[in-house]
């Protein structure tokens, strides 16, 4: 997994609530057996017409926000299916951070397991950033993982965000859970021997 420390980038706004993982990556694209290529189908049904041409009014197709590494989304982002393909699609497209006021549980875990940082901010701050970005698409945000801050560089306003200390450490060091669990193999065998026999 890639390390994460700080990131400054423009923002791609998606002011929709309850964006479920079926929208992030529709089921018909889940037939692959590797993790590559999902970025091309990120938000496929919102992004492309039936003939495969881009829908002009969808935000991913407007040049205004091209190259943004931060996705800004309405509350309850990533609900629904547990498909990790959703995280692979977002990472594959080039995002490193998703900012919202609320994330679904499984999505949050999946994101963290792929080096994608979910940043939870207050509904008020989220609304402010949406407003700032729609007024000035060049608005940039800075995410500082060590300090756990998200800053709007336009006005310098900043908010702290929460992250589990273990997960923070994993991201900062680029380590994943499997490495960690494998280092505790004897504990597993010991548990199996001693586990409560009913």
């Amino acid at each position: 997994m890639e390390k994460f420390s700080t990131l400054t980038s423009t923002v791609l706004p998606l002011p929709i609530e309850n964006v479920d993982t079926d929208q992030i990556i529709p089921a018909r694209f889940l037939k692959a057996t590797d993790k590559k290529g999902f970025g091309n189908n990120l938000f496929a049904d919102w992004r492309y017409n039936n003939d495969g041409s881009p829908k002009k009014d969808f935000v991913l197709n407007t040049p205004l926000y091209a190259g943004s590494k931060i996705l800004l989304a309405g509350k309850n982002f990533g609900s629904g299916s547990s498909r990790e393909h959703a995280a692979w699609a977002i990472v594959g497209y080039g995002f490193k951070v998703v900012v919202s006021s609320f994330f679904a549980d499984i999505f949050k875990n999946n994101a963290l397991n792929n080096g994608l940082l979910p940043v939870v901010i207050s509904p008020a701050f989220l609304a402010e950033i949406f407003a700032a970005v729609s007024k000035n698409p060049q608005t940039t945000l800075t995410v500082n993982l060590q300090e756990q801050t998200l800053t709007n560089n336009l006005d310098g306003k900043s908010e702290l965000f929460e992250i589990n200390p273990y997960k923070k450490d994993c991201l900062l060091r680029g380590l994943d859970d499997i490495d960690y669990l494998l280092s505790r193999k004897e504990l597993i065998e010991q548990y199996e021997k001693e586990r409560f026999k009913y």
């Binding site: 479920d20 089921a27 037939k31 586990r195």
Partner: protein, 474 residues
């Protein structure tokens, strides 16, 4: 009723059912971090596992406990002509990869297409006795919460976590908060556990239980059959819960007893004695408690594009003014997609498709309800109906109980098992703009095919729609 918020006292209180099972599975705790939890049973399917097996290969690892993982092909499978090669080459490749992984990693419990134990993962677990009270159960599928109906901690995981469990039989998880939802009173006749669940999700919204593990309790829950309990626990995820569970009782034990992988003889007696201790202590404290009156619940349908957008079949869609301002863009987008107007009633609306099946309503009891309703009636000619049993065992039982004859007589066909139109990865796709009354669990945009419009409902409302061709009271 209003929710009551409680905080955990510091003294040693009684334990919740969740606490008892969780505590018995803690291998270690990471300082300031998650818990290393031991997993008793792991279910695997073809869509969310290939990258996990590849991960093992890349790290040079074996599966630690192959006999604790059950593998079934269900998501990406046709529901007709399963004896012939799968037509779509990409789907076929995924199924072949699944078989290759089972063989490369010497997995003994592998049920490919056509196997007598094959079917939707959350259906075959319980029916073969893999699912038992007191267990920790995971699967790379969010509806793993189904298995909580047996008094187990069961939850969906991502593919990185599938790899974690294959490699170590453990998972790292933060302990969720606990919530108890009590349903007092009795369900009225004609109201199913699907209606109860849709009612609850509409009350809580799709994010209303995020961060919580839910225990269902109360008179109405105790009266539910195992099938009905599974339907309810299955839908826990649709309000954001990590999982849902019901304390095991005589109904549970009677269901588990005698199934192929259930304990036998002396082991059965020992486990049964333990299972009887699996309930929340009287003085256990939950982080949140909610209470509902089951007698107030009517047959339910959804009108929007998430399972929280539900209402009784007699109600009208909310008016725009009744939706909070931040949610109005999403609300309008959702109704536009569905082709409905705010304030509209849906009774009497013509529909095009009916889907009976999925891990929510693809069990024998659902087919009994459906068949019983359509008996002596005829399918509406304008309706296309997909009746998809959750497993080969369910299908066999449908035949043995004579339900197939009733269904055939009424003009219905029975398909072969799989997830089918629940997520439309195979050919069972609802065409754009068409309305489907579906007994599955998600009405998301495009879930049943690009542009498909899904109205979620229970098996009785689906049966009524199938014979009348419109949304109507069952």
């Amino acid at each position: 009723m209003k929710p009551t918020q409680q905080t955990k006292p510091l003294s040693t209180q009684g334990k919740t059912l969740f606490d008892k099972i969780w505590d018995a599975h803690v291998v270690s705790s990471v300082e300031n971090g998650p818990t290393q939890l031991y997993i008793d049973r792991h279910f695997c399917h073809e869509v969310t596992s290939p990258q996990a097996f590849n991960g093992l290969r890349a790290r040079g690892l074996r599966v630690l406990r192959p006999d604790q993982t059950t593998m079934t092909a269900d998501h990406n499978t046709p529901t007709l002509h399963q004896d012939k090669p799968v037509k779509d080459p990409v789907s076929r490749h995924q199924l072949d990869t699944f078989a290759q992984n089972a063989s490369d990693f010497s997995m003994p419990l592998f049920y490919p297409l056509g196997h007598e134990k094959n079917g939707v993962v959350h259906i075959i677990g319980p029916e073969n006795g893999f699912t038992q009270p007191g267990m920790t159960i995971v699967c790379g599928d969010s509806h793993t919460s189904t298995h909580g109906a047996f008094g187990a901690i069961a939850f969906g995981i991502g593919t990185s976590e599938v790899e974690m469990v294959l490699a170590t039989q453990c998972i790292l998880q933060s302990r969720p908060k606990t919530m108890r939802i009590t349903f007092d009173g009795k369900l009225r006749p004609g109201v199913t556990s699907k209606d109860l669940a849709l009612y609850m999700i509409a009350e809580l919204t799709t994010g209303g239980a995020t961060g919580y593990f839910v225990e269902y309790a109360g008179e109405a829950i105790r009266k539910l059959s195992m099938e009905a309990r599974m339907t309810l626990c299955n839908l826990s995820i649709e309000m954001g819960a990590r999982g849902g569970m019901i304390a095991p009782d005589e109904t549970t034990f009677a269901y588990v007893k005698g199934r192929e992988f259930a304990p036998k003889g002396e082991e059965w007696e020992r486990k049964l004695a333990y299972w009887r201790t699996l309930k929340s202590d009287d003085d256990a404290v939950f982080d949140k408690e909610l209470r509902f009156d089951a007698a107030r619940i009517s047959p339910m349908i959804t009108y929007g594009t998430n399972p929280g957008m539900g209402m009784s079949i007699y109600e009208s869609i909310p008016a725009l003014e009744d939706v909070d301002e931040a949610g109005r863009i999403s609300f309008k987008k959702s109704l536009d997609y569905m082709g409905f107007r705010p304030g509209e009633k849906l009774l009497g609306k013509p529909i095009d498709y009916v889907f009976l099946g999925s891990c929510t309503n693809g069990r024998i009891e659902d087919f009994r309800l459906f068949a019983n309703y359509v008996k002596g009636k005829k399918k509406a000619s304008a309706v296309t109906a997909w009746l998809v049993p959750g497993s080969w065992k369910v299908r066999k039982q449908i035949e043995e109980e004579g339900l197939l004859d009733i269904l055939t007589e009424a003009g219905f066909e029975l398909r072969q098992p799989g997830c089918s139109a629940c997520l439309a990865m195979n050919d069972d796709k609802v065409p754009a703009g068409k309305y489907a009354v579906s007994t599955s669990n998600r009405n998301f945009e495009g879930r049943q095919g690009p542009g498909a419009r899904t109205i979620l409902a229970g098996p009785l409302v689906a049966a009524a729609a199938a014979v009348s061709g419109v949304i109507c009271e069952p």
